[in-house]
Structures are given as structure tokens and as C-alpha cells.
């Protein structure tokens, strides 16, 4: 136990003495958080809307006014027929066609339920999803306005269905703001990248400068060495998470709905996975350069297959299976669940179990791959 303490002490001294690295570890990621959270949103402006109005009522005008008023939409043209609208979309003049059926106003009052027609140019799938999401929002605002009117017209509110207007095409169902959605994910990236790179470079650096040999001639136990190496990086990871959470709260007003303790608890297990991978890489390489390349290789795959930028459901089956081995996927899920949905320990238990198994496995490998005798 004492031995481990001496390693931890030494690692901390080295980290805090390295005036070149220290700011990089903490400042760069935060700049990244601020920039990426703003840039990597799927926010889309000036969506070009065309519409076909078969009703020509004040209600249909009211709906289109809502679109005109929104900063996201640019209502271009009213088309006399569906065909003309379609060909305009083919030409790329408009991105969206909204079709208001005949008897829209009448049915709305009488049956309190109407379907709107919606077509979205889905060449850019992600953008189409976002567009759809925005349209839902506009429609639902208008929905509430009409509902209020009907209630004033003395219809009891219990009798009214919640949604008068519905659009029968859904890709995304989240009523989330995209920044809220992205920030926890980017926090995950920062914690992951920094801890992976630091641990990946660590042992191999000692190999390069020769100090590892001096350690290997001591009777130190392999697990003592690895545990001593893990500890400082876990703390750095948690520190990064903390700074990130404060920034999310202060700058982006992202709520933290779940238990902070739960979030930290899970993060510790997660960081252990990443550090295990890092130390494993470090043990297997001879130069920091090799370690860096391999770390990058894994980070890129993990990130792209984490569900952070592309939904896992839209990946091919084999890729979906692969994502089960992706620790980042679990961390993204947990962060979103705990931060945004306020999920409890029970809710994230599957992730906790899988991540714990992963952590034990990777650190076992790290200990195993550390060879005191070559």
C-alpha cells in the first residue's frame, strides 16, 4: 500500500511540475467544450418551406404565419398543387413541403384531430431530422394556441385531446434542445481523450527515458505499479468533469437533473476502463509516437461509433454489435440519462455492470502486459 502511495506522489509532482502540459490538460479541453458545443449542434437556420393549402381558412393562414414568424424557417411559396411543390423540391428550391388538407379548419373544430402532410428533403439525413423536430415545435405551439381558443369557446379542457394537429412522420421524438443534448456528450469526449492520451503516453515515456528499467530492478509488484499509475489520472478525469459541469451549468444553463454522486461514481468506473486501455497501449509500444497513433485510432473509432454524432439505430447490424464494446457509448448514455433525464441508479445499472466488467478486464490486461522482465 505504501509503495502505491509513493508512486502516486511522484506522478502528481511530475504532472504539476510540467508547466508546459498542465495548461494543455485543463485549458484546451474547456475551449473545446465551449467551441464544440456551439459548433457541433445540428442547429439549422433558413429552412425553405413551401406549402400547399387546400383549405384557405384563417386557421391554415394562422399556421403558416407561425412558420413565417419563426427564425428557423423561410416560407417561400404557396403552390397550387402537390405536383408543382414536388418539382420545386426536386429543383432544390425548397426543403420542406407542408400540405394542409381540405376541411382543415372544419375538421379541427369538429373532430379535434387533423393530420397534416409533411415532406422533408432527406438527402442530409441528420439535417432532415432536425428540420422535422423544428416543425414539430412550431406545430405544437400553434396547437396550444388553438386549444386555448377552443377552451375559451367554452369547451371543457378535459374533452380536448392534447394534440389537435398531428404529423404522422417522426424521426426524432426528443423534446430536447440540441445544445443540451450535445454538451454532455462533449464532456464525455474531453474526459476520454485527455485521460486516454495521458495514460497511453505515460509508461512508454518512462521506457523512453530509461526510468522504467530502474523501476523494474526494484521488487515492486506489477499491480502496485499499475494502481499507482491509475490513481492520479482518475483524479484528473474527475477534475475535468467538474470543470466541465460547472461550465455547462454557467455558460449553457444545462440542467443536472440526476444525482451528481451517481454521475461521479459512474465516471470513476468509466475512467478506469479508459486508463486500463491507455496503460495497455503504453505497455505494448516502444515510443510515445506509436502510443499516440494507437490511442488516436481507438479514440476515433470509439467516438464515431458512440451514438454521439450518429444514432446507433441507423448503423448496420454488425456495427451496432460492435458498439456494445464501446465504452464511450455507455458513458454518453449515462451522462445524458443522469444529466438530462434524472435517471436513477436502477436505470443505469446495466451500464454500470458492463462498464465495471470492462474496467476489470482492461486493468487486468494492463497489469498482465506490464513485463518487468523482457
Amino acid at each position: 500500500m505504501n509503495t502505491i502511495r509513493y508512486i502516486i506522489q511522484k506522478e502528481f509532482k511530475q504532472i504539476f511540475r510540467n508547466k508546459g502540459m498542465l495548461p494543455l490538460i485543463f485549458v484546451l479541453p474547456l475551449i473545446q467544450l465551449i467551441i464544440l458545443s456551439n459548433a457541433a449542434t445540428f442547429e439549422i437556420k433558413n429552412i425553405k418551406v413551401g406549402y400547399v393549402d387546400f383549405d384557405h381558412s384563417s386557421t391554415s393562414d394562422g399556421l403558416m404565419d407561425k412558420f413565417t414568424a419563426s427564425t428557423y424557417f423561410q416560407v417561400k411559396d404557396q403552390f397550387p398543387s402537390q405536383q408543382l411543390a414536388n418539382s420545386a423540391m426536386l429543383n432544390g428550391d425548397i426543403d420542406v413541403i407542408i400540405t394542409i388538407p381540405s376541411h382543415f379548419e372544419r375538421d379541427l373544430l369538429k373532430e379535434q384531430k387533423v393530420n397534416l402532410g409533411l415532406q422533408i428533403n432527406a438527402i442530409d439525413g441528420a439535417a432532415a431530422g432536425v428540420t422535422n423536430f423544428y416543425i414539430q415545435q412550431v406545430v405544437s405551439t400553434y396547437n396550444n394556441a388553438i386549444r386555448a381558443e377552443l377552451i375559451q369557446g367554452n369547451l371543457p379542457s378535459e374533452m380536448l385531446p392534447k394534440n389537435l394537429l398531428t404529423i404522422p412522420s417522426f424521426w426524432y421524438n426528443e423534446t430536447l434542445n440540441y445544445k443540451t443534448f450535445m454538451v454532455p456528450g462533449i464532456l464525455v469526449l474531453i474526459v476520454t481523450m485527455i485521460t486516454l492520451f495521458l495514460s497511453g503516453m505515460n509508461i512508454v515515456r518512462e521506457k523512453e527515458i530509461g526510468t522504467l528499467e530502474q523501476i523494474n530492478v526494484t521488487p515492486i509488484k506489477k499491480h502496485q505499479f499499475i494502481i499507482g499509475k491509475l490513481f492520479p489520472f482518475v483524479l484528473i478525469g474527475l477534475l475535468l468533469l467538474t470543470i466541465g459541469l460547472v461550465i455547462s451549468k454557467v455558460i449553457f444553463s444545462i440542467p443536472i437533473n440526476g444525482s451528481i454522486l451517481l454521475m461521479y461514481g459512474y465516471t470513476i468506473i468509466y475512467i478506469l476502463v479508459i486508463l486500463g486501455i491507455g496503460l495497455f497501449i503504453s505497455n505494448f509500444t516502444d515510443t510515445q509516437q506509436q502510443a499516440m497513433f494507437i490511442s488516436w485510432f481507438f479514440v476515433v473509432i470509439f467516438i464515431l461509433m458512440s451514438g454521439l454524432f450518429t444514432p446507433i439505430e441507423s448503423m448496420p447490424k454488425w456495427a451496432q454489435v460492435l458498439t456494445d464494446f464501446n465504452p464511450i457509448k455507455y458513458f454518453v448514455e449515462v451522462m445524458r440519462m443522469v444529466m438530462l433525464k434524472g435517471s436513477s441508479f436502477q436505470d443505469i445499472l446495466p451500464q454500470i455492470i458492463k462498464t465495471s466488467i470492462y474496467a476489470i478486464l482492461m486493468n487486468g490486461l494492463a497489469v498482465w502486459s506490464y513485463k518487468k522482465t523482457v
Partner: protein, 244 residues
């Protein structure tokens, strides 16, 4: 210095091959407890490779070796408890101070806090490191660094200390001081296994072996070697051997 008739290192047919190339080729020798054993040879002769097998960080290709009573194949970790090692290449932390380096290695050798304190105070005083003890090691000249490496190797009071070219690249005065340190350690009963390619230093050893291309070509006291090769000094012995 009291050399006892007790083998503390026993080596038989020890070989290390890298592919087809035998860096160490079936060497055999014994070292007595308390001896200063000089392990001589030109650059590339295989001294470092042989030493790494003896200290348990490199597995031999074939042969037998026992160090401090432990087998290098099966009990490398036990050997490590009983030996100190000073690498040919400076291998301490440049970004830690002299005292921090000593404390760290004391700690991983499993010494108690108080032991570390006493031992490092003693070493710092003996080696004259008082003025630099709180300086980063990286800022010190090579001669100092080597003294610190030596002190780290001696920290846990090992039975045997392996020194790989401890005086490489330092000035004659520092070399002289270094040998005084070695003598002092030997006086206190530590067995010294030292490589060098300075032939004058061979005269300081109880016995020397001379390695050429992975093989030990001569092994005896400096006096006997000079008689055997009809040479005035160890340098001539070495040149005669090298010419074959």
C-alpha cells in the same frame, strides 16, 4: 574489505541471443561475497546484456545463473530485493529533486518513511550532495547525477550492487571520488559487480574478467593477468587480448 569463500553469483554457460546473433555467448564465472569484480570489455562486447540477465530484467536464452542464491529464471523478483543497479544510461527522474528521487525509490523498495529519511540524509551527507539536494536532477552535471544514481542503487543496503560503466564520461577527479565510494561500500561488505572500459580502473578490482565479442576470454586478479600476458599494465593485457 573481506572477500569470503562463498559464491554470491554463479554463472554457467549463460547465453543471450538476439535472433541469430549471440550478444552473450556461454559465459561462466563466479563472484565471491565481498569482492569487487570488474567486468571489462570493449563497447559492444556484451557487458550490459550480461548484466541485465543477472539483475532479472532480461530472460537468458540458455544457461544457468544464480544471484544471491536465487535463480534468474524462476526467482527474478527475489534477486531484486537483494541487489542494487546503476544503469549505464542515467535513469532517474530529471523533473524530480535529488531528495524526491531518493524518497521515491526508497518508497518502492519498501523502506519505511523514517528509514528513507535517515538513509537519504546519510547518503546526501556522504556524497556531498548537501548543496544540491533540493535541485531538480535534470539541472545537475553528469558527475553529480552519477553519484545520485549510485546512492539510489545503495539505498536499500543491497548485498550486491551492479554498476554499469558508472564512470563513463566524467572527469578524472570525479572518477577518483567514485572509486572511493565504491571502496567504502565494499568495506561495508557489499559485493561490487562493475563494468568499465577504463583499463586503469581494472587495477582497483579484486578480480577482473575480460569479455570479447560475447565471450569471457580472461579472468583473474589484475596481477596474475599481467603476468599471464607479460604486460606492464591492464591496458596492454587488454590490447593483447583484443588483437587475439
Amino acid at each position: 574489505m573481506s572477500v569470503r569463500d562463498e559464491n554470491i553469483i554463479e554463472v554457467e554457460g549463460l547465453t543471450k541471443a538476439f535472433g541469430d546473433f549471440k550478444a552473450v555467448n556461454e559465459i561462466s564465472f563466479v563472484v565471491k561475497r565481498g569482492e569487487i569484480f570488474g567486468f571489462l570489455g570493449a563497447n559492444g562486447a556484451g557487458k550490459t546484456t550480461a548484466m541485465k540477465m543477472l539483475i532479472g530484467i532480461s530472460t537468458p536464452t540458455s544457461g544457468k545463473a544464480k544471484v544471491a542464491g536465487f535463480d534468474v529464471f524462476t526467482s527474478a523478483e527475489d534477486i531484486k530485493k537483494n541487489i542494487g543497479y546503476m544503469s549505464q544510461k542515467f535513469a532517474l527522474y530529471d523533473d524530480l529533486t535529488v531528495r524526491e528521487n531518493i524518497t521515491f525509490f526508497g518508497g518502492i523498495y519498501g523502506l519505511k518513511r523514517q528509514q528513507i529519511k535517515n538513509k537519504s540524509n546519510q547518503l546526501i551527507e556522504e556524497l556531498g550532495l548537501e548543496d544540491v539536494k533540493n535541485q531538480l536532477v535534470g539541472s545537475l552535471p553528469l558527475g553529480w547525477k552519477q553519484k545520485i544514481s549510485f546512492s539510489v542503487a545503495m539505498l536499500h543496503e543491497p548485498k550486491i550492487v551492479f554498476l554499469d560503466e558508472p564512470t563513463g564520461g566524467v572527469d578524472p577527479i570525479t572518477r577518483r571520488q567514485f572509486w572511493e565510494m565504491i571502496y567504502k561500500a565494499a568495506d561495508e561488505g557489499t559485493t561490487i559487480f562493475v563494468t568499465t572500459h577504463y583499463m586503469d580502473e581494472a587495477e582497483y578490482c579484486n578480480r577482473v574478467s575480460i569479455m570479447v565479442n560475447g565471450k569471457i576470454e580472461a579472468l583473474d586478479t589484475p596481477q596474475k593477468l599481467k603476468e599471464q600476458f607479460k604486460a606492464d599494465n591492464m591496458n596492454d593485457v587488454f590490447l593483447k587480448l583484443a588483437r587475439g
